[in-house]
């Protein structure tokens, strides 16, 4: 699938990215090759450029969204993107070396360092604020604290271990990752999972979306000191986790999607539990959305706070609620699309305001859509086996895009002739969302940062790999 290209074609693709004719889906490497995935009108394409002397023309030089990916590429594979404007290490934190934050000049400015250990129960990362009084003039992020070399662990692993690792790239999106990995692996191995498995995968993915959106909705309001929303949403989130436990034997549905199908079937009692859940969440979310809409003090915090312009969202190819709250009408379930969503009816909410409020509303609308999808999934669940034995090992390559609650997760892998993973890359949606948070907080007050940050809810672990 990956097409080896000469430098001229690689550079032509960079020009397309810079001109806004293509969107960057991913950029990853191997010791002697750099790969780039592009989203073009109507198609996805992977370009691979051989790097015999460990060098290739930098994408980040002309297209800023690639810069962090290329810094990671330098760290992990010692490939040199020629012309890369920022060559500070990203995922590697060399021992004892102080990180060179970008200099800030101006009068009356002060810096606020935050992290890596944060005040809440969240993941580690460092934020360096430069503020003028209450107003944030600039934010610079430093990530990589949770770097676990997951992709290196995948090299040489069999598909079962690969799937378990993929399911732990970002725990809150374990279903989406396992699904993306399984689809890429199935494509490489030449196997199609049975229809019942595909439908059950979608059921799990929608339950995961529901749980996370509910959690975010409550947590965002909590960061605006509206605690009652967190209490109610926390309860609903717990109901989803308990239903998942009852149906699939794991509260987060980890390791339930495996290459070839799914590991757990849904029985009649499970289906009834999901129906009861739909009923409760459907009833409650209506009331909670109304409460959100009618509480002026809460709206005062979220409306016009942390704005991401549609132009930035488009340029960075931001997925999920970050993109869709800023006018980017993209959802991997619809395009490139994958079964069973091609036989289900759902709409993709899009707003243009790009503020915290818009990101909240996208989540509320998506909760409603997920409820409708789960209803369709239960109603049309095909009978039959839930998994297929994998065919004899063979070499192959596969790529998949799966819509997690946070946005599109990309998985690409190549199998060797023994059916083991030669190289696997998974790209979290956060790669293209984290940089936008730096832009969103500009000119907002420091106290609104938690609110903005929560409305993005980027994954540290998914990004740090």
């Amino acid at each position: 699938m990956a097409a080896y290209v000469a430098e001229a074609d690689w550079s032509a693709a960079i020009r397309q990215l810079a001109a806004g004719e293509a969107t960057l889906l991913g950029l990853w490497g191997e010791p002697d090759t750099a790969h780039m995935a592009l989203l073009l009108p109507g198609e996805m394409r992977v370009l691979s450029i051989p790097c015999p002397d460990a060098r290739y023309p930098s994408v980040g030089l002309h297209h800023a969204p690639a810069i962090r990916l290329e810094r990671a590429l330098r760290d992990l594979f010692r490939l040199q993107p020629v012309g890369l404007p920022d060559t500070r290490p990203w995922l590697h934190h060399p021992d004892g070396a102080a990180y060179a934050f970008l200099p800030v000049e101006g009068e009356n400015l002060h810096e606020i360092p935050v992290g890596p250990v944060h005040a809440g129960i969240i993941e580690p990362g460092h934020f360096r604020f430069t503020a003028d009084g209450e107003t944030v003039v600039r934010l610079e992020q430093r990530l990589g604290y949770t770097h676990k070399a997951t992709e290196a662990l995948m090299c040489g692993a069999d598909l079962a271990r690969g799937a378990r690792l993929a399911g732990r790239v970002s725990g809150d999106s374990t279903v989406a990752y396992a699904w993306a990995f399984a689809r890429a692996a199935e494509q490489a191995a030449g196997v199609t999972p049975p229809p019942r498995a595909t439908w059950l995968r979608a059921l799990m993915a929608e339950l995961e979306r529901l749980a996370n959106h509910l959690g975010d909705f409550g947590a965002i309001c909590n960061d605006a000191s509206f605690v009652i929303m967190l209490a109610y949403c926390g309860m609903l989130r717990e109901r989803v986790a308990r239903t998942a436990m009852q149906c699939f034997g794991h509260r987060l549905m980890m390791d339930r999607i495996v290459p070839g199908g799914v590991a757990t079937d849904l029985d009649a009692a499970g289906a009834a539990a999901v129906r009861a859940l739909l009923d409760e969440v459907g009833r409650r979310i209506k009331r909670l959305a109304e409460l959100y809409d009618q509480t002026a003090s809460l709206q005062d915090r979220t409306v016009t706070t942390g704005i991401v312009t549609p132009e930035l969202a488009r340029r960075f190819g931001a997925g999920g609620f970050v993109g869709r709250a800023s006018g980017r009408d993209f959802d991997a379930r619809r395009f490139p699309g994958y079964p069973p969503y091609d036989s289900l009816t759902f709409s993709v909410p899009v707003l243009r305001e790009g503020d915290v409020n818009a990101r909240v509303w996208i989540r509320i609308r998506e909760i409603e859509q997920s409820l409708l999808l789960i209803e369709q999934l239960l109603g049309g669940l095909p009978a039959g086996p839930i998994s297929m034995p994998l065919p004899p090992p063979r070499a192959g390559e596969g790529m998949a895009l799966v819509e997690s609650f946070r946005g599109d997760v990309l998985a690409w892998l190549r199998l060797d002739e023994h059916g083991r993973i030669a190289r696997c890359h998974v790209r979290d949606p956060s790669w293209f969302q984290w940089p936008l948070l730096e832009a969103a907080i500009e000119n907002n007050i420091v106290a609104d940062f938690p609110l903005c940050n929560k409305s993005f809810n980027c994954s540290y672990s998914g990004h740090d790999l």
Binding site: G120, I121, E123, A152, R164, G215, G234, R287, S459
Partner: protein
């Protein structure tokens, strides 16, 4: 708003009955939690959570301890924002090389007496990431650990059982 508040007042709480403390955890704690600590701290413990490189699944379940079903605070256990306010460090993740220094500094910033609970398979023995060149592995390779709660991730109930064991040991 009024409807929602009224409903909260008139409905019975959804909170689960407390689970029994985990016997294995009680045994593991041994002499670690001493009588002196019980006298000084009573039955109330402040917990600081430190993510030392987890995949964030453990954080989801630790966060769930605060929801109305599990209601951690009814046991006198609560999460604090700074290690300087903490009695217990709840550490998750296969301690990445990049988090090692931060974990050590957090431990040093926590006043004694203090206990460390390793939460999740990664924190207990490195889990799936045990062989990673980017990870140190088990938390006990960096700081002393008093209690281990296994699971990938441990459920809120398992977490509660472990933490209650910590309180139980303080009773005598």
């Amino acid at each position: 708003m009024r409807k929602t508040l009224w409903e909260s007042l008139t409905h019975r709480p959804v909170t689960d009955p407390p689970p029994a403390p985990d016997d294995a955890a009680v045994a593991e704690l041994g002499e670690a939690v001493a009588r002196a600590a019980r006298r000084r701290l009573g039955r109330s413990l402040s917990i600081r959570e430190v993510d030392a490189g987890s995949c964030n699944a453990c954080e989801l379940e630790i966060n769930a301890l605060n929801n109305s079903f599990h209601d951690l605070e009814r046991f006198g256990l609560h999460f604090v924002a700074s290690p300087r306010h903490a009695d217990v460090l709840l550490v998750t993740g296969p301690v990445t090389n990049n988090m090692r220094a931060a974990l050590l500094r957090t431990y040093d910033a926590t006043p004694a007496p203090k206990w460390v609970v390793a939460v999740g398979d990664c924190a207990v023995d490195g889990g799936l990431f045990a062989d990673s060149f980017a990870c140190v592995g088990a938390v006990e390779r960096v700081i002393p650990v008093d209690l281990r709660i296994r699971g990938c991730p441990p459920t809120p109930t398992q977490l509660l059982q472990g933490l209650l064991a910590l309180l139980e040991r303080q009773v005598w």
